[in-house]
Symmetry: C2
Subunit: 418 residues, 2 copies
């Protein structure tokens, strides 16, 4: 009584982020009730906006009979129009609602674009370190495989279009069928915001190689640094209408609604849009929730204020966490966006290996009961890096970083004795 | 700039029901504003319950911060517990919430179970006529293929476990790798409720052949005839705990909430549950909507009354439609459940062929502008049968059947002249 080989493969390779999240979530820390519980600094969840969101979520819903009936499975026209207006303003570009495909979460959107582009065995090139769930989201159902582009720690793991170019050239020489390049923009785990010249160079690279560019822009509205976010579909890239570029967006991050599972794909060309619509049939979004989001976006004053307050709070959260890290002597890559810090615990490793990284991770997760994710699951080019999420209650961030500091101190003490 | 072969296949084979639905929905009939518009008797949508539902949907939602955060992607514990209680009562069986996998619609649940069981090229046996979207839902992503079991029009297209047995034996002889038998229970398009001895015989067949049984029970609570619905997981089958049986359920039909996209798989064995959970990662359900449904099910008095009223209204709708059909001299299979009537227009075909069925369908769809679905898309064993949905405003059903009658009269007049 077995299952399919695809099912066996998926079951035996659960996404690392989800696994750690559920273990931590099952036994959460509370200062009085459960002081030995887990501090979850592993899940990129925005817990900073509930007070602003709650009144909108608790308000009576203006649903009609049509709102609960069968609708287009790639998103209602009303929601796609609202999203097109919202993204068009952010991107400084015209967005056609017909080019948007709304599915049940950004994961489903990544699956749709990967399955639209790749047959099993074909490849997607990803600059590393990359969003850990790409392994499952882009490959789990499509059967595609990832080819990593290394980056340099000394350079702060900057995105390098020339390195992407080189990897694509090497892949062609090795007769590998590459269909796309995928990245997170802003970067996850690095928190980098990419400048337009970098994006322009990257789009030029994919166009020359005849592959597509998948830009996961889920953190587009979670920028707190001085540089503006620029989408691959943005007019400011100078190539915003390239049929080769496809952007992914959603309500999980800046809107702080990860449970609502609303992911959006903006397809750069007709064939990809049609394919993504066909995949949306298998992962549609609740029209009840779509109606809620349509109402939120229909109020630009509220939305604008919400996004602005969100960015301000993210900046405060980042400053708070980075100060605590500095106090512990923990280096990190300066970030401008997102919910995470990419921290360097390399000097506390027993050896310069991923096995040593795993040992340190186990001490932090099992002994100190803090969930942060090891760099290996982000395909970090070097061992010793970890991703730490800071967008939860500041007291929890303080407790979590203090516990990490205790582990590091214990490592140092052991070294001194030895 | 092409797309993957899976994407090409899906795009070139859109599900017939969805295609006709969107064409009809784009230009709907209205007695004054659009008298030449489409009457949609093709989509199995329950438009009879809005007055009862609306107050619950419009009420303020009691959401907490946890309700919008990351939750188990196969359904929140609270919703799975509520569904387990509800289904357990219906099934007269203990239902463990851990055996339930909640995904974004019954289609996603069918995809999950088919992908869990089948590798590409493996087969699922389906008694015909069968729910038309099985072609896409069970095969579109899994790569499985369907093998039909014919039934007899003279016998009212009854489900025949002996014929399923014979098909499985034949398939084995032809070295085909069959992994499952799939059916709708109650039957769609027939509206049949299967008696426990039939289900027991069917479960015995699948167990002997070492294959799984996928029972799509989306119409479980839409029974208006005298026979009680019995699930394949029901204690009354005497085999309700078989690890080989898997049931699918959802909120689209009796709860009249098809837009909310909440499908449920009850897995009969651990490996299938684990596999379906892995696929749920790609098609999760909005936690906002899950909270709404949890609240509905938390009120058993309201739910019980709602289901009872729904059944009564379905019975009235069925009586109304079948009387109108009888007045037009249109034969149909007597039904006990569901939203549809399986009607016989065979004597108005120009020839006893599916090409003639297509011609008649085109006259009804294009000339009379009534959307009913031809039997071919349900793999009807004989040409001339059509599925007609009656669960909309009675005046629309009356207008639709009158228009069909006009087409049939025109056919008869032409025959008389000839």
């Amino acid at each position: 009584m077995s299952v399919s080989s695809q099912a066996s493969r998926l079951v035996s390779n659960p996404p690392a982020i989800a696994e750690a999240h559920y273990r931590a979530a099952a036994d959460p820390y509370h200062p009085e009730r459960n002081p030995a519980g887990y501090i979850n600094l592993g899940t990129a969840e925005n817990r900073l906006m509930w007070d602003v969101l709650a009144p909108r979520l608790h308000a009576p819903r203006r649903l009609t009979a049509d709102d609960i009936g069968y609708a287009a499975l790639h998103g209602t026209t009303a929601l796609r129009q609202a999203i097109a207006g919202f993204l068009g303003q952010s991107w400084q570009a015209d967005v056609d609602p017909e080019d948007l495909v709304v599915v049940s979460g950004a994961t489903a959107a990544l699956d749709a674009i990967a399955s639209a582009l790749c047959d099993p065995g074909q490849a997607i090139v990803v600059p590393a370190p990359y969003y850990s769930a790409f392994d499952t989201d882009l490959c789990g159902r499509s059967g595609a495989r990832l080819i990593r582009v290394p980056s340099q720690a000394c350079d702060g793991f900057r995105l390098d279009p020339a390195a992407v170019d080189q990897t694509l050239t090497d892949a062609r020489r090795r007769k590998l069928a590459v269909r796309a390049v995928a990245l997170t923009s802003p970067g996850n785990p690095t928190g980098h915001v990419y400048p337009p010249p970098t994006l322009r160079a990257l789009i030029d690279v994919v166009q020359r190689h005849g592959v597509d560019l998948i830009s996961d822009e889920i953190y587009a509205h979670s920028v707190y640094g001085p540089e503006p976010f620029v989408s691959v579909r943005d007019s400011r890239t100078g190539t915003g209408h390239s049929p080769r570029t496809h952007a992914i967006w959603g309500f999980a991050k800046a809107f702080a609604l990860p449970g609502l599972k609303v992911g959006v794909l903006h397809a750069g060309r007709h064939e990809v849009r049609a394919a993504a619509q066909a995949f949306a049939y298998f992962a549609p979004t609740s029209t009840d929730t779509q109606a809620l989001l349509r109402e939120l976006l229909a109020d630009p004053a509220w939305t604008g204020d919400f996004i602005a307050r969100g960015r301000a709070r993210l900046g405060v959260s980042y400053q708070h966490a980075s100060l605590l890290l500095a106090q512990q002597g923990i280096p990190y890559v300066p970030a401008s966006a997102g919910f995470t810090l990419w921290i360097d615990l390399g000097r506390w490793l027993e050896a310069d290996t991923f096995a040593a990284e795993e040992s340190l991770w186990l001490r932090i997760f099992q002994d100190a009961r803090v969930n942060i994710l090891p760099g290996r699951v982000f395909a970090s080019p070097r061992p010793g890096w970890f991703r730490l999420c800071h967008t939860i209650e500041p007291a929890l961030v303080r407790e979590g970083i203090a516990r990490i500091g205790q582990v590091l101190t214990a490592v140092e003490d052991k070294e001194k004795i030895a």
